[in-house]
Protein backbone atom coordinates (compact mmCIF):
# COMPACT_ATOMS: atom_id res chain seq x y z
CA UNK A 1 0.00 0.00 0.00
CA UNK A 2 2.83 2.36 0.80
CA UNK A 3 4.04 2.48 -2.76
CA UNK A 4 0.80 4.03 -3.91
CA UNK A 5 1.17 6.79 -1.45
CA UNK A 6 4.72 7.27 -2.63
CA UNK A 7 3.63 7.62 -6.14
CA UNK A 8 0.97 10.16 -5.32
CA UNK A 9 3.52 12.28 -3.53
CA UNK A 10 5.90 12.02 -6.37
CA UNK A 11 3.31 13.16 -8.84
CA UNK A 12 2.38 16.11 -6.71
CA UNK A 13 5.74 17.73 -6.98
CA UNK A 14 6.41 17.25 -10.64
CA UNK A 15 3.01 17.30 -12.12
CA UNK A 16 3.53 19.55 -15.13
CA UNK A 17 6.52 17.94 -16.68
CA UNK A 18 5.12 14.53 -15.94
CA UNK A 19 1.98 15.06 -17.93
CA UNK A 20 3.55 16.94 -20.79
CA UNK A 21 6.49 14.79 -21.62
CA UNK A 22 6.21 11.32 -20.27
CA UNK A 23 8.94 10.05 -22.57
CA UNK A 24 11.56 12.75 -22.21
CA UNK A 25 14.18 13.36 -19.58
CA UNK A 26 13.65 12.36 -16.00
CA UNK A 27 15.51 9.18 -16.66
CA UNK A 28 15.78 7.99 -13.11
CA UNK A 29 12.27 9.07 -12.37
CA UNK A 30 11.13 7.22 -15.44
CA UNK A 31 12.79 4.02 -14.35
CA UNK A 32 11.39 4.38 -10.88
CA UNK A 33 7.95 5.00 -12.26
CA UNK A 34 8.18 1.93 -14.47
CA UNK A 35 9.20 -0.18 -11.55
CA UNK A 36 6.28 1.06 -9.52
CA UNK A 37 3.85 0.66 -12.33
CA UNK A 38 5.01 -2.89 -12.86
CA UNK A 39 4.64 -3.60 -9.19
CA UNK A 40 1.11 -2.20 -9.18
CA UNK A 41 0.26 -4.32 -12.18
CA UNK A 42 1.64 -7.34 -10.38
CA UNK A 43 -0.63 -6.58 -7.48
CA UNK A 44 -3.58 -6.14 -9.83
CA UNK A 45 -2.85 -9.46 -11.51
CA UNK A 46 -2.70 -11.22 -8.17
CA UNK A 47 -6.10 -9.80 -7.25
CA UNK A 48 -7.95 -9.82 -10.57
CA UNK A 49 -6.38 -12.75 -12.40
CA UNK A 50 -4.94 -15.18 -9.86
CA UNK A 51 -4.29 -18.86 -10.44
CA UNK A 52 -7.68 -20.49 -9.83
CA UNK A 53 -7.66 -22.40 -6.55
CA UNK A 54 -8.76 -25.69 -8.04
CA UNK A 55 -5.86 -25.56 -10.51
CA UNK A 56 -3.38 -24.88 -7.76
CA UNK A 57 -4.81 -27.84 -5.88
CA UNK A 58 -4.54 -30.12 -8.92
CA UNK A 59 -0.92 -29.12 -9.45
CA UNK A 60 -0.16 -29.96 -5.82
CA UNK A 61 -1.86 -33.36 -6.22
CA UNK A 62 0.07 -33.95 -9.44
CA UNK A 63 3.01 -34.94 -7.28
CA UNK A 64 1.41 -38.38 -7.27
CA UNK A 65 2.20 -38.61 -10.99
CA UNK A 66 5.86 -38.55 -10.21
CA UNK A 67 6.79 -42.11 -10.97
CA UNK A 68 10.41 -43.12 -10.98
CA UNK A 69 9.67 -46.72 -11.91
CA UNK A 70 8.01 -45.99 -15.20
CA UNK A 71 9.78 -45.26 -18.41
CA UNK A 72 8.42 -42.27 -20.28
CA UNK A 73 7.29 -42.72 -23.84
CA UNK A 74 7.95 -39.36 -25.42
CA UNK A 75 5.77 -37.87 -28.11
CA UNK A 76 7.40 -38.31 -31.50
CA UNK A 77 4.50 -37.47 -33.79
CA UNK A 78 1.45 -35.28 -33.34
CA UNK A 79 -0.86 -34.79 -36.30
CA UNK A 80 -1.75 -31.39 -34.92
CA UNK A 81 1.79 -30.23 -35.46
CA UNK A 82 3.41 -32.62 -37.89
CA UNK A 83 0.66 -33.36 -40.40
CA UNK A 84 -0.44 -31.15 -43.24
CA UNK A 85 -4.15 -30.52 -42.86
CA UNK A 86 -6.30 -32.11 -45.50
CA UNK A 87 -8.56 -29.66 -47.20
CA UNK A 88 -12.18 -30.54 -46.55
CA UNK A 89 -11.45 -32.84 -43.67
CA UNK A 90 -13.35 -30.97 -41.02
CA UNK A 91 -12.59 -32.94 -37.92
CA UNK A 92 -9.62 -35.19 -38.62
CA UNK A 93 -8.71 -37.68 -35.89
CA UNK A 94 -5.77 -36.76 -33.76
CA UNK A 95 -2.89 -39.11 -34.35
CA UNK A 96 -0.21 -39.38 -31.73
CA UNK A 97 2.88 -41.54 -31.60
CA UNK A 98 4.89 -42.13 -28.46
CA UNK A 99 8.17 -43.90 -28.20
CA UNK A 100 10.12 -45.47 -25.34
CA UNK A 101 13.15 -47.37 -26.52
CA UNK A 102 11.91 -49.86 -29.08
CA UNK A 103 8.32 -49.73 -27.90
CA UNK A 104 6.04 -47.57 -30.04
CA UNK A 105 2.53 -46.56 -29.02
CA UNK A 106 0.27 -45.24 -31.76
CA UNK A 107 -2.90 -43.57 -30.57
CA UNK A 108 -5.80 -42.17 -32.53
CA UNK A 109 -8.24 -39.96 -30.69
CA UNK A 110 -11.65 -39.26 -32.21
CA UNK A 111 -14.92 -38.00 -30.86
CA UNK A 112 -15.92 -41.61 -30.21
CA UNK A 113 -12.98 -42.70 -28.18
CA UNK A 114 -9.45 -43.81 -28.68
CA UNK A 115 -7.80 -46.57 -30.62
CA UNK A 116 -4.27 -47.68 -30.33
CA UNK A 117 -1.59 -50.05 -31.43
CA UNK A 118 1.52 -51.23 -29.67
CA UNK A 119 4.58 -52.05 -31.70
CA UNK A 120 6.08 -54.56 -31.59
CA UNK A 121 2.62 -56.16 -31.17
CA UNK A 122 2.10 -57.47 -27.67
CA UNK A 123 -0.56 -57.73 -25.03
CA UNK A 124 -0.64 -55.10 -22.32
CA UNK A 125 -2.69 -53.78 -19.49
CA UNK A 126 -3.37 -50.10 -20.04
CA UNK A 127 -4.68 -47.44 -17.78
CA UNK A 128 -5.97 -44.19 -19.27
CA UNK A 129 -4.94 -41.51 -16.80
CA UNK A 130 -6.82 -38.24 -16.69
CA UNK A 131 -5.05 -36.65 -13.79
CA UNK A 132 -3.71 -37.50 -10.36
CA UNK A 133 -6.74 -39.70 -9.66
CA UNK A 134 -7.23 -43.24 -10.93
CA UNK A 135 -8.04 -43.77 -14.59
CA UNK A 136 -9.98 -46.19 -16.78
CA UNK A 137 -8.53 -49.62 -17.53
CA UNK A 138 -8.08 -51.04 -21.02
CA UNK A 139 -6.43 -54.12 -22.42
CA UNK A 140 -4.31 -54.50 -25.51
CA UNK A 141 -4.90 -57.84 -27.25
CA UNK A 142 -2.21 -60.21 -28.47
CA UNK A 143 -1.77 -58.09 -31.58
CA UNK A 144 -1.19 -55.00 -29.48
CA UNK A 145 -4.49 -53.37 -30.38
CA UNK A 146 -6.58 -51.51 -27.86
CA UNK A 147 -9.72 -49.38 -27.89
CA UNK A 148 -11.40 -47.14 -25.38
CA UNK A 149 -15.00 -46.07 -25.93
CA UNK A 150 -14.74 -42.68 -24.28
CA UNK A 151 -12.42 -40.05 -25.69
CA UNK A 152 -10.14 -38.58 -23.06
CA UNK A 153 -11.38 -35.20 -22.01
CA UNK A 154 -8.58 -32.91 -21.09
CA UNK A 155 -5.06 -33.99 -20.32
CA UNK A 156 -4.38 -37.70 -20.52
CA UNK A 157 -1.59 -40.23 -20.42
CA UNK A 158 -1.50 -43.97 -20.97
CA UNK A 159 0.12 -46.17 -18.39
CA UNK A 160 1.09 -49.48 -19.90
CA UNK A 161 2.32 -52.66 -18.38
CA UNK A 162 3.79 -54.68 -21.20
CA UNK A 163 6.40 -57.40 -21.14
CA UNK A 164 7.19 -56.80 -17.50
CA UNK A 165 7.88 -53.16 -18.10
CA UNK A 166 6.00 -50.08 -17.00
CA UNK A 167 5.74 -47.29 -19.53
CA UNK A 168 3.83 -44.01 -19.32
CA UNK A 169 3.18 -41.80 -22.30
CA UNK A 170 4.04 -38.16 -22.01
CA UNK A 171 1.11 -36.10 -20.75
CA UNK A 172 -0.90 -34.60 -23.58
CA UNK A 173 -4.07 -32.73 -24.21
CA UNK A 174 -6.49 -34.77 -26.28
Amino acid sequence: MSDHKDRRNRQDHQEGSYDDEPDEGLLDEGLLDEGRLEQELRQAAAILDPVPDQLLQLAVEAYALHDLDARIAELTFDSLVDAIPVRGATDPPRMLTFQAGDLTVDVEVTGDGLMGQLLPPQPARIEVLGGPRAGAALTADDLGRFTGDAPPSGPFALRLRAGGELVVTQWMRA
Binding site: E34, R42, I47, P50, L55, L56, Y63, P155
Partner: protein, 212 residues
Protein backbone atom coordinates in the same frame (compact mmCIF):
# COMPACT_ATOMS: atom_id res chain seq x y z
CA UNK B 1 -0.96 -18.74 0.15
CA UNK B 2 -0.96 -16.23 -2.65
CA UNK B 3 2.53 -14.95 -3.01
CA UNK B 4 2.42 -11.68 -4.80
CA UNK B 5 -0.41 -9.90 -3.12
CA UNK B 6 2.42 -8.69 -0.98
CA UNK B 7 4.93 -6.81 -3.09
CA UNK B 8 8.48 -7.97 -2.63
CA UNK B 9 10.42 -5.33 -0.82
CA UNK B 10 13.73 -6.22 -2.42
CA UNK B 11 12.20 -5.92 -5.81
CA UNK B 12 10.59 -2.64 -4.97
CA UNK B 13 13.89 -1.09 -4.09
CA UNK B 14 15.44 -2.06 -7.37
CA UNK B 15 12.91 -1.56 -10.09
CA UNK B 16 15.46 -1.80 -12.88
CA UNK B 17 17.62 -3.52 -13.89
CA UNK B 18 16.19 -6.69 -12.60
CA UNK B 19 16.97 -10.33 -12.94
CA UNK B 20 17.08 -13.42 -10.84
CA UNK B 21 14.29 -12.60 -8.47
CA UNK B 22 13.19 -16.13 -7.76
CA UNK B 23 16.22 -17.76 -6.26
CA UNK B 24 17.51 -20.20 -8.88
CA UNK B 25 19.55 -22.21 -6.43
CA UNK B 26 16.47 -22.61 -4.30
CA UNK B 27 14.37 -23.85 -7.19
CA UNK B 28 17.05 -26.40 -8.05
CA UNK B 29 17.17 -27.59 -4.46
CA UNK B 30 13.38 -27.85 -4.27
CA UNK B 31 13.31 -29.92 -7.44
CA UNK B 32 15.94 -32.22 -6.00
CA UNK B 33 14.04 -32.60 -2.73
CA UNK B 34 10.83 -33.32 -4.61
CA UNK B 35 12.63 -36.00 -6.63
CA UNK B 36 13.75 -37.48 -3.33
CA UNK B 37 10.20 -37.71 -2.11
CA UNK B 38 9.64 -34.46 -0.26
CA UNK B 39 6.03 -33.51 -0.93
CA UNK B 40 6.44 -30.16 0.83
CA UNK B 41 9.16 -29.23 -1.64
CA UNK B 42 6.83 -30.06 -4.48
CA UNK B 43 4.14 -27.90 -2.94
CA UNK B 44 6.60 -25.04 -2.62
CA UNK B 45 7.49 -25.42 -6.29
CA UNK B 46 3.84 -25.36 -7.26
CA UNK B 47 3.18 -22.29 -5.19
CA UNK B 48 6.26 -20.48 -6.41
CA UNK B 49 5.93 -21.27 -10.09
CA UNK B 50 2.20 -21.67 -10.70
CA UNK B 51 1.68 -17.95 -11.24
CA UNK B 52 4.32 -18.05 -13.97
CA UNK B 53 2.60 -20.94 -15.75
CA UNK B 54 -0.75 -19.24 -15.36
CA UNK B 55 0.63 -15.97 -16.70
CA UNK B 56 1.83 -17.73 -19.85
CA UNK B 57 -1.61 -19.23 -20.36
CA UNK B 58 -3.25 -15.86 -19.84
CA UNK B 59 -0.73 -14.10 -22.05
CA UNK B 60 -1.86 -16.31 -24.91
CA UNK B 61 -5.50 -15.51 -24.29
CA UNK B 62 -6.81 -19.03 -24.30
CA UNK B 63 -10.39 -19.67 -23.33
CA UNK B 64 -10.85 -20.68 -19.71
CA UNK B 65 -11.39 -24.32 -20.61
CA UNK B 66 -8.30 -24.49 -22.80
CA UNK B 67 -6.24 -22.51 -20.36
CA UNK B 68 -7.13 -24.80 -17.48
CA UNK B 69 -6.18 -27.85 -19.49
CA UNK B 70 -2.90 -26.39 -20.63
CA UNK B 71 -2.05 -25.50 -17.07
CA UNK B 72 -2.80 -29.03 -15.92
CA UNK B 73 -0.94 -30.64 -18.78
CA UNK B 74 2.14 -28.59 -17.99
CA UNK B 75 2.14 -29.54 -14.31
CA UNK B 76 1.33 -33.20 -14.95
CA UNK B 77 4.19 -33.38 -17.42
CA UNK B 78 6.50 -31.60 -15.03
CA UNK B 79 5.65 -34.11 -12.30
CA UNK B 80 6.21 -36.91 -14.76
CA UNK B 81 9.61 -35.60 -15.87
CA UNK B 82 10.67 -34.43 -12.44
CA UNK B 83 13.65 -36.70 -11.98
CA UNK B 84 14.78 -36.25 -15.56
CA UNK B 85 15.05 -32.52 -15.82
CA UNK B 86 18.60 -31.75 -16.81
CA UNK B 87 18.93 -28.38 -15.16
CA UNK B 88 16.73 -28.34 -12.07
CA UNK B 89 17.60 -24.70 -11.43
CA UNK B 90 15.90 -23.85 -14.69
CA UNK B 91 12.64 -25.56 -13.83
CA UNK B 92 10.88 -22.22 -14.26
CA UNK B 93 12.07 -21.94 -17.84
CA UNK B 94 11.12 -25.55 -18.46
CA UNK B 95 7.59 -24.87 -17.23
CA UNK B 96 7.34 -21.61 -19.13
CA UNK B 97 8.43 -23.05 -22.45
CA UNK B 98 6.25 -26.13 -22.03
CA UNK B 99 3.31 -23.86 -21.32
CA UNK B 100 4.12 -21.76 -24.36
CA UNK B 101 4.30 -24.79 -26.64
CA UNK B 102 0.98 -26.10 -25.39
CA UNK B 103 -0.62 -22.68 -25.84
CA UNK B 104 0.65 -22.42 -29.40
CA UNK B 105 -0.59 -25.91 -30.13
CA UNK B 106 -4.00 -24.99 -28.81
CA UNK B 107 -4.17 -21.84 -30.88
CA UNK B 108 -3.13 -23.82 -33.92
CA UNK B 109 -5.83 -26.43 -33.41
CA UNK B 110 -8.40 -23.70 -32.93
CA UNK B 111 -7.45 -21.99 -36.14
CA UNK B 112 -7.56 -25.30 -37.92
CA UNK B 113 -11.00 -26.09 -36.62
CA UNK B 114 -12.45 -22.68 -37.35
CA UNK B 115 -10.50 -22.39 -40.61
CA UNK B 116 -9.53 -18.86 -39.87
CA UNK B 117 -6.50 -17.00 -38.79
CA UNK B 118 -8.47 -14.05 -37.63
CA UNK B 119 -6.90 -13.30 -34.26
CA UNK B 120 -10.04 -11.56 -33.12
CA UNK B 121 -11.80 -14.89 -33.02
CA UNK B 122 -9.11 -16.23 -30.79
CA UNK B 123 -9.25 -13.13 -28.77
CA UNK B 124 -11.76 -14.38 -26.30
CA UNK B 125 -10.86 -11.97 -23.64
CA UNK B 126 -11.30 -12.93 -20.07
CA UNK B 127 -14.71 -12.45 -18.61
CA UNK B 128 -15.45 -9.17 -16.98
CA UNK B 129 -13.07 -8.73 -14.15
CA UNK B 130 -14.72 -9.58 -10.90
CA UNK B 131 -12.69 -7.75 -8.31
CA UNK B 132 -13.00 -8.98 -4.83
CA UNK B 133 -14.23 -5.60 -3.82
CA UNK B 134 -16.66 -6.95 -1.33
CA UNK B 135 -13.72 -7.70 0.87
CA UNK B 136 -12.75 -4.09 0.95
CA UNK B 137 -15.09 -1.98 2.94
CA UNK B 138 -13.53 1.32 3.80
CA UNK B 139 -13.63 4.17 1.34
CA UNK B 140 -9.92 4.17 0.88
CA UNK B 141 -9.94 0.51 0.11
CA UNK B 142 -12.76 1.04 -2.36
CA UNK B 143 -10.80 3.80 -4.09
CA UNK B 144 -7.77 1.57 -4.15
CA UNK B 145 -9.65 -1.29 -5.71
CA UNK B 146 -11.17 1.06 -8.26
CA UNK B 147 -7.66 2.18 -9.16
CA UNK B 148 -6.55 -1.38 -9.61
CA UNK B 149 -9.55 -2.15 -11.75
CA UNK B 150 -8.82 0.81 -14.02
CA UNK B 151 -5.18 -0.07 -14.23
CA UNK B 152 -6.16 -3.56 -15.28
CA UNK B 153 -8.60 -2.27 -17.89
CA UNK B 154 -5.95 -0.13 -19.50
CA UNK B 155 -3.52 -2.98 -19.35
CA UNK B 156 -6.01 -5.23 -21.15
CA UNK B 157 -6.32 -2.64 -23.91
CA UNK B 158 -2.62 -2.55 -24.67
CA UNK B 159 -1.50 -4.01 -27.98
CA UNK B 160 -1.06 -7.76 -28.05
CA UNK B 161 2.69 -7.71 -27.80
CA UNK B 162 2.83 -5.44 -24.78
CA UNK B 163 -0.05 -7.11 -23.04
CA UNK B 164 1.56 -10.47 -23.55
CA UNK B 165 4.98 -9.42 -22.35
CA UNK B 166 3.70 -7.60 -19.31
CA UNK B 167 1.31 -10.38 -18.34
CA UNK B 168 4.24 -12.72 -17.93
CA UNK B 169 6.50 -10.16 -16.32
CA UNK B 170 3.96 -9.43 -13.62
CA UNK B 171 3.66 -13.00 -12.39
CA UNK B 172 4.43 -13.27 -8.67
CA UNK B 173 7.12 -13.74 -7.69
CA UNK B 174 8.60 -11.90 -10.68
CA UNK B 175 10.05 -14.30 -13.24
CA UNK B 176 13.62 -14.05 -14.46
CA UNK B 177 14.24 -12.80 -17.96
CA UNK B 178 15.27 -16.35 -18.88
CA UNK B 179 11.83 -17.53 -17.89
CA UNK B 180 10.11 -14.70 -19.74
CA UNK B 181 12.17 -15.56 -22.78
CA UNK B 182 11.13 -19.21 -22.52
CA UNK B 183 7.53 -18.20 -22.02
CA UNK B 184 7.26 -15.98 -25.04
CA UNK B 185 10.05 -16.88 -27.40
CA UNK B 186 11.52 -13.41 -27.09
CA UNK B 187 15.29 -12.91 -26.88
CA UNK B 188 16.46 -12.17 -23.35
CA UNK B 189 18.23 -9.03 -24.51
CA UNK B 190 15.11 -7.45 -25.93
CA UNK B 191 12.95 -7.96 -22.86
CA UNK B 192 14.28 -4.98 -20.92
CA UNK B 193 13.74 -2.43 -23.68
CA UNK B 194 10.35 -3.89 -24.57
CA UNK B 195 9.29 -3.84 -20.96
CA UNK B 196 10.24 -0.20 -20.66
CA UNK B 197 8.39 0.74 -23.79
CA UNK B 198 5.28 -1.16 -22.81
CA UNK B 199 5.16 0.30 -19.32
CA UNK B 200 5.52 3.78 -20.76
CA UNK B 201 2.72 3.09 -23.13
CA UNK B 202 0.57 1.93 -20.26
CA UNK B 203 1.48 5.02 -18.27
CA UNK B 204 0.49 7.21 -21.19
CA UNK B 205 -2.88 5.48 -21.40
CA UNK B 206 -3.46 5.97 -17.71
CA UNK B 207 -2.50 9.63 -17.95
CA UNK B 208 -4.78 10.13 -20.92
CA UNK B 209 -7.59 8.64 -18.90
CA UNK B 210 -6.78 10.88 -15.99
CA UNK B 211 -6.14 7.99 -13.67
CA UNK B 212 -3.49 8.51 -11.09
Amino acid sequence: MRAGTVPSAAYHDMPYPRGEIVDRAEVGALVQSAVDGDAAAWKALVEGLSPLVWSVVRAHRLSDADGHEVYQTVWFRFAQHLGRIREPGKAGSWLASTARNECLKTLRSLSRLTVTDDPRLLDRVSEESTPEQSLLDSEEAAAQSERIRRLWQEFEKLGDRCRQLLRVLIASPPPSYQEVSAALGVAVGSIGPLRQRCLRRLRARLDARGTT
